[in-house]
């Protein structure tokens, strides 16, 4: 016997923290951490409904959670590739800065062709 309210509360907390992480971070990888928390909340909600909501002929909840996990893996691979490309183009991962890689290089941020951090200072 388990109270479904407990997993549901955890789902709500994880979703709220994920939203906060997406909105309050300016490092690109940390925004991804928030996205992962949101996806984890979605998976936990699916599993909780499947395990406590009565019979289901096709085990849909668990199957769909497996699909969500797989899609999240594909998503994170592409997102990290974009992060790497962004780092090569800009030399930093600050989402609050100007992020258009074709824009004019700003004096304060290293632009295309500039080397990041220590090497640019040489």
């Amino acid at each position: 016997m388990i109270r479904p309210a407990l997993p549901y509360l955890l789902v709500a907390v994880l979703a709220g923290l994920g939203v906060y992480g997406i909105l309050a971070r300016r490092h690109a990888v940390l925004v991804l951490v928030g996205v992962e928390l949101l996806l984890g909340a979605a998976g936990l909600l699916l599993v909780t409904v499947g395990q406590t909501g009565g019979g289901d002929a096709h085990a849909s909840a668990q199957v769909l959670t497996l699909f969500v996990i797989t899609i999240a893996a594909a998503e994170v691979v592409v997102a990290l590739a974009v992060v790497l490309a962004l780092y090569r183009a800009r030399g930093h991962l600050d989402l609050a800065a100007d992020l258009d890689p074709r824009g004019r290089p700003d004096a304060s941020v290293p632009g295309p062709g500039h080397l990041p951090d220590g090497e640019a200072a040489r």
Partner: protein, 186 residues
Amino acid sequence: MSGLDVLFLAVGLLTAGSALLAVLSRQVLHAALWLVVTLAGLAGCYLVLGAELVGLVQLLVYVGAVVVLILFALMLTRSGGVPVVTGRGQRGGAALVGAGTTILLGGTLVAGSGWRAVEVAGPTNTEVAEGVLGVYVWPFELLSALLLLALVAAVAIARAPVGGQDDASHRPGPAPRALAAQGEDA
């Protein structure tokens, strides 16, 4: 409170606490490592709920692969000096939106389910396998295509010329040589 309740409470508190630290930590690497604890705790939640297969897949895919990818990305980009949090105003707004999400979602879900205890009665692993390879076989096959596509796309994006257009001034290649030549001249 039954035994499962207490067990879930313990694992859930661990998960929520580490998620909070993953979102609040100012060190990028610490946040990624707290994410490991969160995802492992989530796998524990799945185990407590009786979904062993999903829990183990979560452990394998997330803790094993996704987190390693994130750590690799952090080390390849070594952005130590970049500020990780936004200004006070945006953080306050984000906290407001996050708290609103939590209250709305939690209120709706708990109001819908009530506080009573129910029996854990999930499908067996045989039924899950029948679902994956029977009813959902076409989405499952599509997923393999999606994974292949994501792999190829990731390689293409990570190796693409900087700036999206193949302009000589945008290529990262010549810069180190130019710098080295300047060093030799001096």
